[in-house]
Symmetry: C2
Subunit: 239 residues, 2 copies
């Protein structure tokens, strides 16, 4: 399983993904699920992935291929004229890969699909964030829905519903996504550390990414403080 | 959809269910999902249901039938020698009904199933709580897992994970299940008011049930206080 979340706020975008993949509970690995495509100062695109690893890896590889080979059939997301076109390219690539894999798996009645969050900004355009479905169609984050989630989204949604809105600061936004991830990891073993966190400040066209390891003291302190605060708040509620 | 939760604690049992059923988002109704079978002072059994309404209603009807008609083929749960036997009777009835319905639905490639929580105590026995699966098999709550959930369980699980243990008081337990339900109703429209809350004090063999309406002032106050407390706690966390 996977949990990825993206926030599109007035001040910028905040993205967080876990790194745990599993082929059965007895076969757990660490794979990056956050991919950054950057021409600093000109454009930045971050893609978060959930679903079949064979589908997501091949999709990302083909997107890279189109960037590196000007003669490739596919269009480069670093040259696309708008973020909407970027989402379309990602969607088309994803659905093509999923179809290719489906043909191979069809004989075994198995299924492989994936969903992605595509967030970014190009010079002269606004920040935009999309959720791309397995079939290649997509929806976009608006001022009414400041966040998008893929994968195991339920455990971590209540905290986001309560504290996130368009005017949330980037500092609070990082706190919110980390606490949302913390709740998810407590309840679903198939979501796990380390985490990849990325902040894109509005108009900077640059991704500030950092990895949060399993022994990160700041994350542990925050997780513990949140547990304590929740228990204290619970104790204070009158009924 | 549905959310039902049961807590088995040192001091007693606390059970909560919503009442919303839907056949599509455009067809929403209120149906009780909590059923009490009582011989006060001798035994009390409470059953919570989730899943296909045609399956759960028929199952409950057959359980009642077996109680009312001493000559019925099925065994009465009010005469079963142990709570384990009660769980077996419920499981057998549920799987039989599900099979009967499946035959009718088979032609249309549809599926109908249900899960149930069965909680109770009989004179001379301990309190016991079971989660009965659609196939009729079941698991039991132990000291390591003080709560069982059926239906839309994910949104309301983090709060239970953090605050519920065997030595939780019955007052705190009611607060915990109501806050768990509150989180679920905020995130899933198919879970809704009114709520049915039931407390069974250890050794009393009696169900104290009450309905919490959509306009219940105590519930609203608690829900508002919890939202405020969460936002305050969030603001206080340092990162």
């Amino acid at each position: 399983m996977t949990y990825c979340v993206g926030l599109l706020l007035d001040a910028g975008m905040v993205l967080l993904s876990d790194t745990r993949t599993n082929a059965g509970l007895d076969n757990i690995s660490v794979y990056k699920k956050m991919f950054t495509f950057e021409a600093p100062g000109d454009r930045v695109i971050v893609i978060l992935t959930a679903g079949s690893l064979s589908v997501t890896q091949t999709t990302i590889a083909r997107l890279h291929d189109a960037i590196d080979n000007p003669n490739a059939e596919a269009e480069s997301i670093l040259k696309a004229p708008t973020m909407l076109r970027v989402a379309e390219i990602v969607g088309d690539t994803l659905s093509t890969v999923a179809r290719d894999v489906a043909v191979k798996l069809g004989a075994m009645s198995q299924n492989a699909s994936a969903t992605m969050i595509v967030a970014g900004q190009r010079k002269g355009g606004g920040m935009r964030m999309f959720l791309v479905y397995p079939e290649g169609n997509f929806i976009e984050s608006t001022t009414d829905t400041a966040f998008l989630q893929i994968g195991e989204h339920k455990y971590g949604k209540p905290i986001l519903d309560r504290v996130v809105s368009m005017d949330t600061t980037l500092a609070d936004a990082q706190k919110a996504v980390l606490l949302s991830m913390d709740s998810t990891m407590r309840s679903n073993l198939s979501v796990g550390m380390p985490l990849d966190l990325c902040v894109i400040r509005k108009g900077q066209m640059r991704a500030e990414a950092r990895r949060i390891g399993a022994d990160d003291p700041v994350f542990h302190k925050m997780s513990f403080a949140w547990s304590t605060a929740l228990r204290d708040a619970f104790a204070d509620i009158e009924i």
